[in-house]
Amino acid sequence: MLTIDQATYDGIVAHAKRDHPDEACGIVAGPEGSDRPTRLVEMVNAAGSPTFYEFDSTELLALYKQMWDLDEEPVVVYHSHTATEAYPSVTDIGLASEPGAHYVLVSTREHGNNDGPVEFRSYRIVDGEVTEEEVAVVAALPTT
């Protein structure tokens, strides 16, 4: 199960709506081993495309170095689909490289840049196998 706080959830949805019709992408970092997504990092989609996303390679390195310095890991890796359902594509599955992360898919196909509900779903993707999981949106993450 993915447990995520409302502000972070809203941030991901807002990013997806803003970048529609291109795919939006980013991560939510959290302390290593904690499974707590605490720090939303919006990334630029270097592909600038409605059907593909890719972090810029220089920004990718900067992001990971920052996480290493803070003893963090990518707890959530998110991106949007802008014309299809919020389910990992064949490409998503083939390129998924963080077996410990929650892969969040947001679909903006219904309302685009406008207000209105979006599909927000989460998956584990390990060795090409996709497992959907429940998403619990909480006011604030429980303190551990």
Partner: protein, 90 residues
């Protein structure tokens, strides 16, 4: 002195869980061959048909190797190599 190679989570199955391993070589290609000697199987995850895989990024001292000669990028003792899979999809 050696060259430290930072290994991403998904490739740590080849390094017994180690986050970073030492390697030697004067070019990235030689370093990868040296890695392969100690961690069999890892080369195929980095290189395909003699080229760096499209969705693998390798950095030498924070420079993407695609801008400094790719597999022929020159390395020396003390350099730091980072391997990061692309975060990408469709």
């Amino acid at each position: 002195m050696a060259i430290e190679v930072r290994i991403p989570t998904i490739l740590r199955t080849y390094t017994g869980g180690e986050k970073a391993v030492d390697a030697a070589g004067g070019t990235l290609s030689a370093v990868i061959d040296d890695l392969e000697g100690n961690h069999p199987g890892i080369k195929e995850r980095l290189v395909d048909n003699g080229d760096l895989r499209r969705f693998i990024n390798i950095y030498v001292n924070d420079e993407d190797v695609r801008f400094i000669g790719g597999l022929e990028a020159e390395l020396k003792d003390g350099d730091q190599v980072v391997v990061l899979p692309a975060v990408a999809g469709g």
